[in-house]
Amino acid sequence: MSGRTLVVWCPDWPATAAGFLVGVPAAVVAANRVVALTPAAREEGVVIGLRRREAQGRCPTLQVVAADPGRDARVFEPVVTAVEAFSPGVEISRPGLLGLATRGPSRYFGGDEELARQVAVAVDTVLGKLAAGAGGCRVGVADGRFAAGLAARVAGGGGPAGGGGPADEAGMPVSVRVVEPGESRTFLAPLPVTALPDPDLADLLVRLGLPCLGDLAALPAPAVLARFGTAGALAHRLASGLDPRPIAGRVPPPDLTVTAGFDPPADRVETAAFVARSLAAELHDRLGERGLSCTRVAVEAETEHGERLQRLWRHDGILTAAAIAERVRWQLDGWLAGGTTTAGLTFLRLIPDEVGPANGCQLGFWGGGAEDGGVARALARVQGLLGPEAVATARIGGGRNPGDMVHLVPWGDAPDDGDGKAGAGGVVGGVGPVGAAGVAGRPAAGSGGGATGSGGPWPGRLPGPAPAVVFIPPQPAAVRDADGAEPEVSGRGVLSSPPSAVKVGEGPWCPVEAWAGPWPVEERWWDGGRRQARLQVVAQGAAYLLARERGRWWVEAVYD
């Protein structure tokens, strides 16, 4: 059974919020289209959706104001406050429309009609203060929000039983429509399907010969679901006067967390691991009862000094009780032995983080995956010792420099698309050595052997073998020419003088035997990107990739 709901609707709210009175032809315009208008404007032939110029053509005295959602909400606030005086828990759908569960307040105020009348009077008073002569609100009460909203719409003078009935103390009529409990379906039956929140579906229903909500509600629900899908089933529920959500369908998620306390606090791994093993078994039993399995579990612990530690463990397959216990043990080992904690553990909790149906796990026929399982165990153990980010697999993506092309993914994490960091390929590229050497027709990019990363051509990527040692971030270097001065790279990518000696970090000066460049790179200039010029240098048998950036020299990589 749906809950009794009261809906307060202030018609043409954006126009009211803009300060227009009912008798003034006025329209609120967004993106050059009329989105709201006063009844006076409507009488002149202006409709919602009309272009501004056309609306002004139909009604030359039309006042036009731009839409402002902030203003609508701000002005609506006193109305909400007035309704909140009756009951807390007011739900605002949008400025101009709010709902209220009437179960409690209607008994207090003496019935739905009385409550609706008092709410309408209160809101009308607020609106009257806002602007004398502003349009009044309309109040509908029915089973369910959809029916109550329609009741509020019908409550205006045009409704079959609306208007005229209740009145406020001063005798002024208020627009109230109360649909008796259980009568929602009857009330909705003659209303057009265009009242449904899905205009496309309503259009289709009309063309199928179902112009009224009653026609739709008369159809069997499974047939509607089969023909129109979820949207149709929702519309059918609404037309039948039910809540959009079937209440019985929602089962609260079971609490699968398992917890254990230590008294006295456990300061030895063995003590904690012993309890962890039984905890893991308990968690596994709980999952098993529900036919679930866990692919990610969070281990949470608290120490005597109030330190709170948590870490997630993921597993490709399914975490068995033994696997969970093993991981908890590694984790406790890392925490207790690694000096992360200053006191013994008082509290341990296992939270299944990613739970799915237990579909079983099929091993390869020839024991396939067994070795990989050993690797996964070993790596998980290292992650327990050093943290989940300490173990990484690498992926090669796009980029111009060797450091940019590599994306490290922590072990066990889902790999990203591999091109996330450098996805915004540069419009302004760089000049690669091949281009600089004047070899026509051969792309500078792509000749880098196996490193054909994603994301199309990367002009300016260095061809030839990649460096075996890459500095991230680059390390400072020093370069000097034959006169002892520091060579510079001009804005046009010209080296001021050839390098004759290079010094990496704190090392000694080494004479340069061969060099080439500079090859400029300009990337992501729209995003505070990078401008640099690169140089390949061989000094005393070692080859370096140098870069001039931010007014000084850096060593990006060593061809070790």
Partner: protein, 275 residues
């Protein structure tokens, strides 16, 4: 295989006693259906070019290799493990936060089975704890991976090294210690030293680094006591390790205008090459 059903059929034609099970076919069937693991179980494969340097023609399981040299040590280590990685062995690199992944891929390492444990290069928690914990981490990695590349963080206690060697032998894993040799207190089974290296393709203001010629010497214990030498393109123009066709041809192919290869052992040591 083809002969087995024929033989069985002939016996049925004669109407003799029930056919004896064709036992001789069993080893054939077993060999065909067994995963090809046993033949190569003692050694892990290496690139054909590098095989002459190794006494067994491959990386012997349970052995410890050291790769030494002022330059090209990282490349030699990566080239050593590339083939094994492509054949399904897991490779881990411990303590090498600056390893060039692109170079590793070019030298044949399969990144699907390549794990990095930077140890101190990471952002969280590794800096202070990783340095002291590296023997534990290395031992844990040896439980799972078949090849462990290890760059030592500094001095190594003999007891740690001894324990790691024992663990590698027990698990049948290969430990490759990259970097300065004196830091490793245990004697390694094989030490590969880059005696000389020379880059090709880079001139004075023109060209780009294309390939490198290296002279590698391998000396070890037992069967490897006699030094083995090889001249290799490491990396070659495609980034992979390649053979110099013959000594003379390789030397003839050198273009004029680049630095000549120093005599082995007389290579000036570039002290600045650290990683």
């Amino acid at each position: 295989m083809g002969g087995v059903p024929v033989a069985a059929g002939r016996q049925h034609e004669r109407g003799a006693a029930p056919a004896p099970p064709p036992l001789h076919a069993l080893p054939v069937a077993a060999a065909l259906s067994r995963p090809v693991a046993l033949a190569a179980s003692r050694t892990l494969p290496v690139e054909d070019v590098l095989a002459p340097l190794l006494p067994e023609g491959g990386l012997r399981r349970g052995s410890v290799l050291a790769v030494d040299g002022a330059t090209a040590a990282t490349s030699v280590a990566l080239a050593l493990v590339g083939a094994a990685s492509r054949r399904g062995s897991w490779v881990a690199a411990l303590g090498m936060p600056r390893l060039g992944i692109v170079a590793a891929a070019q030298l044949g390492v399969d990144l699907e089975r390549f794990v990095l444990v930077p140890l101190g290069g990471g952002q969280s928690g590794g800096a202070q704890s990783g340095g002291a914990q590296w023997p534990v981490v290395a031992a844990a990695l040896l439980e799972g991976v078949e090849v462990l590349l290890l760059r030592l963080p500094g001095r190594v206690r003999a007891v740690d090294a001894c324990r790691l060697v024992a663990r590698a032998r027990e698990r049948g894993a290969v430990l490759v210690v990259v970097g300065d040799r004196p830091a490793w207190p245990e004697a390694s089974d094989l030490t590969l030293t880059v005696e000389a290296a020379r880059w090709e393709g880079l001139g004075c203001g023109h060209g780009y680094l294309q390939a490198r010629l290296v002279d590698v010497t391998a000396v070890g214990r037992r069967g490897a006591a006699r030094p083995r030498r090889a001249r290799l393109w490491l990396p070659g123009s495609d980034g992979r390790v390649a053979a110099v066709l013959s000594d003379g041809a390789g030397r003839d192919a050198l273009r004029p205008g680049v630095a000549t290869l120093p005599v082995a052992g007389a290579l000036p040591v570039a002290a600045a090459v650290g990683s």
